[in-house]
């Protein structure tokens, strides 16, 4: 019985103290007809040695690839210190910091995180995380609706990550909120004012603005922000936090800045890990703080006036407010935030800037090389951050398959999400890609295209 310390002696003494004759007797309040038949699909236990071997074999079977897939999850170098510290038992195996005096480590770290995220996004306040970027967007929409009071419409460009739009719809439709999709310019890959105008006739609670958008293209965020604000609606920014080392932060978009910024925190030190755990971040303007979902940490003092940290504004949360809470969220993604905070601390402003700049440069370099191949061209004219949509002269899946056989994951087939985008591939290059890697990709793609003639 792994992980159970009891000796036979212990069990005897404990039962004697309880006054029961067997452990089974302790379950005597469960109606006998409810007692479970045997578990039939649970295999016999393995030793740690056996499961280690199995997992190692499975991991090796999956192997490593030279990957150019982005689409919302990005490969960045993660300093070794990040996870060596994050997995220290005191961070790894503690609970949500309800007992402040016994949790100053986690609490102070979260306060530092809030500071960093607020600054990175140019906003006033931050919460301590939500599940992921997609659910953070949904929470932001709910928040905007609560704030607006009259309209339950949310405008969402089709340039927002398709999975985010799905999650958003799945969640907000329960509260009779309408998600309205906004088209985009097929030349530039951006949402232009002319696409917005028709939807501004009627009231709406918020406009969502992605930056960069799903195609890697940079939106005209200032114009969009001012347009929405002119209609007395909120602006929800969906941003890649890494890009903010290069780009104007949402808090400075247009004349007033976005009202809420959310996004996927994964680029900040979180491994790709088949999709999770990542973390959603959310920052906002000060006057929205009481509408914010999730944990928030505040600085205060102890009885001796020494500074310390506590969970605060708990009256927004389910464990206090129950059915009147701003959200049902309880457990969030604490450990990921721990990693992200250490990551941002290790990189600092200059490190983060370099990662962003190098990723951007690598994308430009790769696009340039690939565009030299016959039949390959950029789909959109808008400027890009570290991802770019390309048209290929052949069906994308065929090409991806051929690249994979050479150990390369070439990108994402855009047609899966945008039926109109035939033969379009979304390619990402971060700072992890060397000149050799880029050459390998372009050479290999060249060969494959040549083979097909």
């Amino acid at each position: 019985m792994p992980f159970i310390p009891h000796t036979e002696e212990d069990v005897k003494e404990m039962l004697a103290s309880i006054g029961a004759s067997s452990i089974e007797e302790l379950f005597d309040e469960i109606p006998p007809d409810l007692k479970t038949g045997a578990l039939t699909c649970v295999p016999p236990g393995m030793s740690e040695m056996e499961i280690s071997r199995l997992m190692l074999e499975r991991a090796q079977a999956d192997g490593f690839y030279l990957s150019f897939i982005g689409a919302g999850a990005y490969e960045h170098h993660i300093p070794a210190a990040v996870w060596q510290i994050t997995t220290r038992g005191e961070f790894y195996s503690s609970y949500t910091p309800y007992q402040a005096e016994a949790s100053q480590g986690t609490l102070q770290l979260l306060y530092e995180y809030q500071t960093m995220m607020a600054s990175l996004t140019g906003m006033d306040v931050s919460n301590a995380s939500l599940y992921d970027g997609a659910t953070a967007l949904a929470e932001a929409a709910l928040m905007a609706v609560r704030q607006h009071k009259t309209s339950r419409r949310i405008l969402v460009p089709r340039t927002v990550h398709p999975a985010y739009r799905k999650v958003l719809s799945a969640i907000v439709r329960n509260q009779d909120i309408e998600v309205v999709e906004i088209p985009f310019c097929p030349e530039s890959g951006q949402v232009l004012l002319e696409h917005l105008e028709p939807f501004g006739q009627e009231d709406f609670a918020a406009l969502v603005i992605p930056q960069p958008n799903f195609f890697g293209v940079l939106e005209q965020v200032d114009a969009m922000t001012d347009w929405a604000h002119a209609k007395h609606s909120s602006v929800i920014a969906v941003v890649n936090p890494m890009s903010l080392a290069m780009l104007v932060p949402p808090g400075e978009w247009g004349t007033q800045g976005a009202d809420i910024a959310v996004g996927e925190g994964q680029p900040l030190g979180i491994p790709l890990s088949s999709g999770g755990p990542y973390f959603g971040f959310m920052t906002c303007k000060h006057d929205l703080v009481r509408q914010m979902p999730g944990r928030i940490i505040g600085r205060t003092v102890d009885l001796d006036n020494k500074p310390g940290f506590v969970l605060t504004l708990q009256a927004r949360e389910q464990h206090i407010r129950r059915s009147k809470a701003t959200s049902n969220i309880c457990t969030n993604q604490g450990l990921m935030v721990t990693a992200a905070t250490i990551y941002m601390s290790l990189l600092g402003p200059e490190g983060l800037r370099q990662v962003a700049a190098q990723s951007h440069a690598n994308m430009l370099q790769l696009a340039e090389q690939l565009e030299q191949l016959p039949g390959v061209k950029r789909v959109y004219s808008g400027p890009c951050f570290h991802e770019v949509a390309l048209t290929l002269p052949r069906p994308v899946n065929e090409i991806l398959q051929a690249l994979k056989e050479q150990g390369i994951l070439g990108g994402l087939n855009l047609q899966e999400h945008y039926p109109e985008l035939e033969n379009a591939l979304l390619v990402c290059a971060t700072e992890t890609k060397t000149a050799d890697d880029l050459n390998k990709y372009s050479e290999m793609l060249g060969k494959i295209l040549k083979k097909y003639g």
């Binding site: 992980f3 499961i51 897939i69 503690s94 007992q99 100053q104 903010l244 973390f279």
Partner: protein, 481 residues
């Protein structure tokens, strides 16, 4: 000292910097950031030292007994962490082709099947990222079910007053009205109240069993009948599954939908507040609505099940498939335990709880439901003590910190005054429980002899009691240079 105070302008942590300069750049000037970022400029050593020292300020399972009721703070096996963090698993992109992830997908598929067995449900989806999201997804499926049948007037979800806060919050988030029903003296749901509350407007009932009062809801079959008869569905909050793992399958109790907190029963770490994972299981009739993606195994190959395969799915609730790395940890845990180990979890969790309850009762503490068996947790109430001495449950909790124990859950469930919800979990030894009892006894003496000392606890922690009121009044949520 904050990390920002280790920062100096121009300090460089060069091993994280690129050795080449990025030449190319093509971004319009107006989109480029001009304002500084308030990130520390610190050396690698200062960062490592800062966060290593911060970590030491936490209580944790790896350092202290942590009998936090309802939270199942059990040992998090280190192998689960090590194996989920194998480099290939970490490097795998969520959108990488299925044939480059058969090893990973095999683990996910097997976990799905094992959870089906354990819960007695017909289908399982692994996507929910925590208990509360599991609840939301569960209630969404209930809603989808009624809607698919054209049953549009079911607007209420019934929730016992002892329920966890996420239950009512979830129901509301899913567009329902919440009807709270009372608890009887024995800690069971008041059946009269339930009968009175049920009706054609009832979409479903959310139940935690064993409840957060630490007792098994004996009338669960009867409740199931009442709700089902009225056309409602039954939701099982599986946060307390640790108490009955291998003893009762929620499916056998008549539940239609369930979530399981893997970060509780399956021992994935709480991580100072997450990440968790909370797969949902459903009975036959809710199968069409399970969230995607799930994993299928066909002709020796694992593949994702998506909207195409599950056309009536409530959809996607995370960008990919939830907290995959947490699921991997849970998978390793179940394989380590195996079928026998799984059965033993609830046995020893229950043994520990009942033993500690007996010992604390003998030590003079008042048990909230003294005639009941404890499930894997139980409640001590300080109502009398507070009346006589003014010492509160919170005071006692803080004093426990001084003695090297994390406090139990306080003031939850709200209906029990001055309560401590105590859950020792199966991984603690008798010696630890005895030492905890001894500490509780010491405090009982202190309460009699020096109540003011107890009221002003903690005394031996790096900080004394923190001012929550000031924190909420004078909001200081970010550091300003």
């Amino acid at each position: 000292m904050l990390i920002f105070e280790h920062s100096r302008p121009g300090r460089r942590n060069r091993s994280q910097f690129s050795t080449t300069t990025a030449e190319k750049k093509n971004i319009p000037q107006n989109l480029l950031r001009k304002s500084p970022m308030l990130l520390p400029e610190a050396s690698e050593m200062d960062v490592v030292r800062h966060y290593t020292r911060l970590s030491q300020k936490n209580f944790s399972i790896d350092t202290e007994f942590y009998p936090l009721g309802s939270c199942t703070m059990k040992y998090n096996p280190r192998a689960c962490n090590a194996l989920a963090m194998l480099p290939q698993f970490l490097a795998r992109h969520p959108l990488a082709p299925e044939d480059t992830g058969q090893g990973f997908l095999a683990c996910m598929y097997e976990l799905q099947e094992i959870l089906k067995d354990v819960t007695g449900m017909a289908g399982v989806s692994l996507t929910p990222m925590a208990g509360a999201q599991g609840e939301l997804i569960g209630v969404m499926m209930i809603r989808a079910y009624h809607e698919a049948r054209g049953d549009k007037n079911r607007t209420e979800i019934i929730v016992p007053d002892a329920a966890h806060g996420t239950n009512p919050a979830t129901a509301v988030m899913c567009g329902y009205k919440v009807v709270e029903i009372a608890t009887d003296k024995e800690g069971n749901v008041d059946m009269a109240a339930l009968k009175a509350a049920v009706g054609p407007q009832t979409a479903g009932l959310m139940l935690t069993n064993p409840s957060t009062l630490g007792v098994f809801e004996k009338n669960v079959s009867e409740m199931s009948r009442i709700v089902h008869d009225a056309g409602g569905l039954l939701y099982y909050d599986g946060a307390n599954l640790n108490a009955v793992l291998g003893k009762v399958k929620p499916g056998d109790m008549g539940f239609d939908v369930i979530h399981i907190n893997l970060h509780k029963t399956f021992s994935t770490p709480h991580g100072g507040g997450g990440p968790g994972a909370a797969p949902v299981g459903v009975a036959e009739r809710l199968l069409p609505y399970l969230p995607v993606p799930m994993v299928a195994h066909e002709r020796g190959v694992y593949r994702w099940l998506t909207e195409k395969d599950v056309p009536h799915t409530i959809g996607r609730l995370s960008a990919h498939m939830g907290n995959a790395g947490v699921l991997l940890r849970a998978y390793v845990y179940v394989r380590l335990l195996g079928v026998k180990g799984m059965n033993r979890v609830s046995e020893y969790a229950t043994l520990n709880a009942n033993y500690l309850m007996a010992e604390l009762s003998k030590a003079g503490f008042e048990i909230a439901f003294p005639t009941r068996r404890a499930s894997h947790e139980f409640i001590v109430t300080l109502k009398d003590i507070k009346e006589k001495t003014g010492v509160t449950a919170m005071n006692l909790a803080k004093r426990l910190l001084d003695k090297g124990y994390h406090a139990p859950t306080t003031y939850f469930p709200i209906l029990i005054p001055e309560c401590l919800l105590i859950e020792p979990a199966e991984t603690e030894s008798k010696e630890t429980l005895d030492a905890f009892t001894a500490a509780m006894k010491e405090i009982l003496v202190e309460i009699q002899e020096q109540p003011d000392m107890v009221k002003s606890a903690p005394h031996d922690m790096p900080l004394r009691k923190l001012d929550d009121v000031k924190a909420a009044r004078e909001l200081d949520l970010t550091w300003k240079p």
